[in-house]
Amino acid sequence: MRTRAFKGGVHPADRKDQTNTRAIERAPVPQLVTVPLSQHLGAPCSALVEKGDRVRRGQLIGDVEAMVSAPVHSPVDGEVTDVGRVVLASGMRSVAVTIVPDEQQDLDSFEPVTAGNDSVRERVRAAGIVGLGGAAFPTSVKLQPPREMPVSTLILNGCECEPYLTCDHRLMLEQPDRVIRGAQLIAGSVGAGRAVIALESNKLDAAAALRAQAPDGVEVMVLPTRYPQGAEKQLIRATIGEEVPHGELPAATGALVHNVSTAAAVADAVDQGRPLIERVVTVTGKVRRPGNFMTMIGTPVETLIEAAGGFDGDHGRIVAGGPMTGMALADLSVPVVKGMGGIVVLHPAESAPAVHGDQPCIRCARCSDACPMMLEPYAIGIYANRTDWEGTDRYHALDCIECGCCSYVCPTRRPLVQLIRGAKQALLQRGAQL
């Protein structure tokens, strides 16, 4: 197994003990939910409701015809008070439907979704399921692999390699049946003969829980704890020993990767017709009562922090997602979206130091040693800094998965990921122009 592991990676302090023993609890119903119409990669939805409309929990409120997209549903019974632009945690501007929830909410019921037919894929699409592992890519698209690349192995990604986050861990531990059911449904849908649930060695209890219920054909694989074990390409390398070729989809190796929470959501969508209106969010760090909260999509981050007891003294950056790849929030009123697995309130001393501008590279090679894509981040950074995009392309900037290992290890704190991201954007734009 060891020989298959990916090269590079880092071992940040994982600090998962704050929340990995806290059972999932329900977050309070907020006073206002703001459901963005673009929570996924792909075409944004158009609003199907107007200001003043009444909506029911589970009701479809936004949809679009495009193939790469996912509809959105109302998480509450309530009244639409606005349909307008808001800023999301990612800094993107999106149209959002703002709903004031009714006093009385029946949280156990919802309007089941209606799908065009009974196929798993259609139901998943109708339920608005997107990848809950972070990228928020519409799951239904991934359930339709290109014909020339049949999927032979389904990998369920339970690595949760980011420090602090435990939402997937708790889900696997508390509801292994949902995860396994999802695995079976997805594997059946894409015709994969083998399903592997992969998790890191710091979640042995969850592995045991899964193993206890895993039927034949569903394998539980424990991988070494190393960031970014959960990144798709690295995970495929670690589980089936193959490298996704440059520029190809993972399906080229015969693998399909889904997050465990995604699988659980698929199980609910198929079995109960349940739309994706809630997800588990880990709220942790410098808060008084860290924990995992079943949270309605659209809940303001402030509400969640209050639910976790509020700030515990001074704090540093507040991050949506994990501290390695998540986004620092400028504003706590932004809503929770489908792809947001955690709110991490960092300790002031722990937040990366604020770097203004360029830092020198001392060529220590730590970044290239840590890069799981075997890139040379220092070089990409240097060329990106000069806006020499050809130079960044020579060093394969586009292969970067933005895992953050390079910035993490850099002793001079060069903002490598940001530089590389800029290069990627520029290269993609130029590619689009050509």
Binding site: V87, A89, M327, A330, V355, H356, G357, R386, P415, G422
Partner: protein
């Protein structure tokens, strides 16, 4: 003197000389390759900045296209009339006039605009624009991190002490490189007569005037005073924002005088304010613009 030695020397040198001459002559006849000499000639009068404004990747590409007639002799935006004339000259065709365009900044906020968060990271406009939509409350304002200044192939832009790019119209050639680079569209490209100058509205926010006022003291408040003052009917409030019609504008400066927000400027050769440049060694300004010099390793993108 040794006559024999002279003869020997003459003979030796002549043999070598004739051999060399013969070889070269033969070669130049036998291996003659036709290269379009016009391309070379056009290339020799182009500025050689390879700025790409003409839509060609390099001046050489432009020269080829011009020589082949695929592009007009005025194709080099950067070179202006002088180059156009020179190109016409070397090609032996009629000269034609080019319109002179320069770029103009559409934001006057700078330090007067509110920042929404403390930013740390790469000090470029493009980078900050990708993080939470940028550190300005104003959705359209200039960040002031100077991407435009970095890319201008003619070194026409510098960030001044207000944290705003100032465009040196003497140097700007209207190549549009900065316009393409700016993540905000804070710079607009327009046609103007440099001798006369022109007016520029320094606000680009499409928020409601009330919201604008909250985050910027220099914004256009859509009071319509300029519209009323303009004798040439060249400035109008459109979508709650003053917009100049440069075909009509005579650069009389009436609107500049009446604007209560000092949001309109007269620009042009005669009117460039002597701004204090921050090109790496000017005074350090507190607030949001601490590191532009550091963020810009010297000569980046030049």
């Amino acid at each position: 003197m040794d006559a024999m030695l002279v003869i020997k020397a003459v003979a030796a040198l002549s043999v070598i000389g004739l051999a060399a001459a013969a070889m070269l002559t033969a070669a130049s006849r036998k291996f003659h390759v036709e290269v379009d000499p016009r391309v070379e000639r056009v290339l020799s009068v182009l500025p050689g900045a390879n700025c790409g404004a003409c839509g060609n990747p390099s001046c050489f590409g432009a020269a080829e296209a011009i020589a082949q007639g695929a592009l007009p002799v005025t194709a080099c935006t950067a070179g202006g009339q002088a180059v156009a004339d020179a190109v016409a000259d070397v090609l032996g065709v009629e000269k034609c006039a080019v319109a002179s365009i320069v770029s103009l900044r559409h934001c006057g906020g700078g330090r007067a605009a509110t920042r929404s968060f403390d930013y740390a990271g790469v000090m470029t406009c493009a980078a900050v624009a990708r993080l939470a939509g940028g550190d300005l409350e104003c959705p359209a304002g200039c960040f002031g991190y100077g991407d435009c200044a970095r890319v201008c192939p003619f070194d026409a832009i510098a960030i001044d002490t207000r944290g705003l790019p100032v465009i040196d119209l003497d140097r700007c050639t209207g190549c549009e490189v900065c316009v393409r680079e700016c993540p905000r569209g804070s710079i607009g490209l327009l046609v103007m007569a440099p001798e006369d100058g022109a007016v520029a509205v320094r606000c680009n926010s499409h928020d409601k005037p009330r919201a604008r006022r909250d985050y910027c003291s220099m914004c256009c408040i859509a009071c319509k005073k300029c519209e009323k003052a303009c004798p040439a009917d060249a400035i109008h409030i459109i979508d709650l924002l003053a917009v100049v019609d440069y075909d009509k504008c005579t650069a009389c400066g009436m609107c500049v005088a009446v604007c209560p927000q000092e949001c309109i400027d007269l620009t042009g050769r005669a009117a460039i304010a002597p701004a204090v440049m921050l090109d790496g060694r000017g005074p350090k300004v507190d607030g949001f613009l601490p590191v532009v010099p550091d963020a810009r390793p010297e000569g980046v993108g030049k």
